[in-house]
């Protein structure tokens, strides 16, 4: 099971929406994933397999060894996210 985090500034509203979109994307791709949401500050202590966030926050978070970083500008678009996820996972 993949450990996935959806990250936003406050970790309350928008990352929860992103989480719901990400969950749906993984479900439709048939990949088992445990998706959580959190704010960028607290994310520092998390060690997930995949992190999904905005391009601006991705700069703050930075690339990490062994973590796939996916960025999206639309939190509600399942289709775009599905493409990005399968591309990122395919590369691994």
């Amino acid at each position: 099971m993949l450990k996935v985090y959806a990250v936003c500034v406050n970790g309350v509203g928008s990352s929860l929406l992103l989480k719901m979109t990400v969950e749906k994307a993984f479900r439709e791709l048939g990949i088992e994933a445990d998706v959580k949401h959190i704010d960028a500050g607290q994310f520092k202590g998390c060690r997930p397999d995949v992190c999904i966030t905005t391009p601006a926050l991705a700069r703050t978070i930075g690339e990490r060894e062994g973590m796939i970083l996916i960025t999206t500008t639309n939190f509600m678009d399942v289709k775009v996210l599905k493409g990005k996820i399968s591309e990122a996972l395919g590369r691994e």
Partner: protein
């Protein structure tokens, strides 16, 4: 029998238990597994209780400073921050706020009904905002009309339902052009988007027949890169709240002078006390948000599930940060504008000798400024992003002071912070004060909804 009624009454008087029941209904409607239902209800109950603790911490952090300002200058200082308003209401009318989760549920259902059968197809999904707003409607209805029980539930649910339908529909009119029909803004900062879009249209010489929207290019990307350390700061809400609130609250203290601070600080050294004020305020916010996060994580999927089933194709109205990636640099510009605007507003109040001083609460400045930045930029470019933010900041303070004094929140020494409170809610509060009768106000709400339908329905017609 008397005992059973008593138990029910006691449960109905505890906000966390009522929230537990509301979440239980939501989870059962989604046909969740029993174990998920148990987990969800526990988290909702514990979440609300954490939120209450956070409220206490938050109030303990800023109250001494406000008392200091009152004693030294005779002015009432009030921080423009939603959660401080919500916390103060929770403390002031604990028996009445137990109705809030029920108001949220019915308000949401009215929103769903209006979207299903009316022309404005928007569904409000920002649950933490719904909680703060529902709490405020309970305060207002009780303050102006003195209603309780069923009447309170009816008027508050209608208030919420209409507001959660009309405001997102209004912002959709502006967001549709650049964000599509996948989502719109569902918050109590809708006016930040509306005002800034209008300013953008003015500065960008917007032509409805030949609409042109601004896109961030490489140049903005570079500018964003140059401000990298600044944006990193803004990307961490704990850090930005703490630093800026230290300046705001510490500044307030220093105005009052060393002796006053030492008196409030008690055994603590006055310098340490002043430095730690912002941090204590942030602790309150972080704890409060932890509770809110826990609670709404159970609620939002339920709301989304209900809306997908009952109103397929409705535009979900979501939280502000969803918009920032559409123009990240503009959102920073908007914030800087709003920050400046808040201080302009603050000094206007100071210069005019206002008895109530609105103290910038930073969080609403930060988020609403970002929204003003994005909407202003899309219609009028960088200048509009900044000036949109500036106007929003000024409105938050100067409109906010009217809202705070009229709504009776001033008596609690707290208020709400977002742009809608300085604009639409300020007007609605004036209406409530003027009509003085609960059913007249319900009629006013119906008229507002009707007007909104007439003016905004064409944006929901598929081309």
């Amino acid at each position: 029998m008397a005992m059973i009624t008593n138990v029910f009454k006691t449960i109905a008087g505890q906000i966390e238990l009522v929230m537990g029941i509301v979440v239980l209904i939501g989870l059962l409607l989604q046909k969740k597994k029993p174990i998920d239902v148990v987990m969800g209800v526990v988290k909702a109950v514990v979440g609300v209780m954490i939120l209450k603790q956070g409220s206490t911490l938050l109030q303990a952090a800023y109250k001494p400073v406000m008392e200091m300002l009152k004693a030294t200058f005779g002015v009432t200082g009030i921080i423009t921050e939603n959660y401080s308003g919500m916390a103060a209401i929770n403390t002031a009318i604990p028996e009445l706020v137990a109705i809030v989760p029920t108001v949220m549920l019915f308000g949401f259902l009215i929103n769903i009904l209006l979207a299903r059968f009316g022309p404005l197809k928007v569904v409000f999904l920002t649950a933490h905002t719904m909680l703060a707003f529902a709490t405020l409607t309970v305060w207002l209805a009780n303050w102006f009309f003195g209603v309780e029980g069923t009447q309170l539930l009816i008027v508050c649910s209608l208030f919420c339902g209409v507001f959660w339908t009309v405001m997102p529909a209004w912002t959709y009119r502006y967001s549709k052009a650049f964000a599509g029909n996948g989502f719109t803004l569902g918050h109590i900062s809708g006016m930040a988007a509306v005002i800034s879009s209008r300013i953008g249209m003015l500065l960008g010489h917007y032509d409805a027949k030949n609409p042109r929207l601004f896109e961030e290019g490489e140049e903005d990307e570079e500018a964003n890169g140059r401000f990298h350390s600044l944006t990193r700061l803004f990307n961490d809400s704990t850090v930005v709240t703490c630093l800026l609130m230290t300046i705001v609250l510490g500044g307030g203290c220093l105005l009052a002078g060393r002796e006053a601070i030492q008196e409030a600080a008690g055994a603590t050294n006055w310098v340490v006390f002043t430095i730690e004020l912002g941090a204590s305020f942030t602790v309150g916010i972080v704890v409060l948000l932890a509770g809110v996060r826990m609670m709404i994580a159970e609620l939002v999927p339920a709301f989304k599930g209900i809306s997908d089933k009952l109103v397929p194709g409705a535009v979900p109205s979501v939280d502000m940060p969803v918009f920032y990636p559409l123009a990240p640099f503009a959102s920073v510009l908007g914030f800087l504008g709003a920050f400046l605007g808040e201080f302009v507003g603050f000094f206007v109040l100071l210069a005019t000798g206002s008895a109530t001083l609105m103290i910038p609460g930073i969080i609403a400045t930060f988020f609403d400024g970002g929204i003003a930045g994005v909407f202003g930029f899309k219609y009028g470019g960088r200048r509009a992003a900044f000036f949109g933010g500036l106007v929003v900041g000024i409105v938050q303070i100067l409109g906010g002071v009217l809202f705070t004094t009229m709504s009776g929140l001033g008596t609690l020494g707290a208020t709400y912070g977002n742009t809608d409170f300085g604009t639409t809610m300020m007007l609605l509060t004036a209406v409530m004060k003027a009509v003085g009768n609960v059913w007249f106000f319900v009629a006013v709400l119906a008229v507002i909804y009707g007007l909104a339908c007439v003016l905004l329905r064409r944006y929901f017609v598929e081309e």
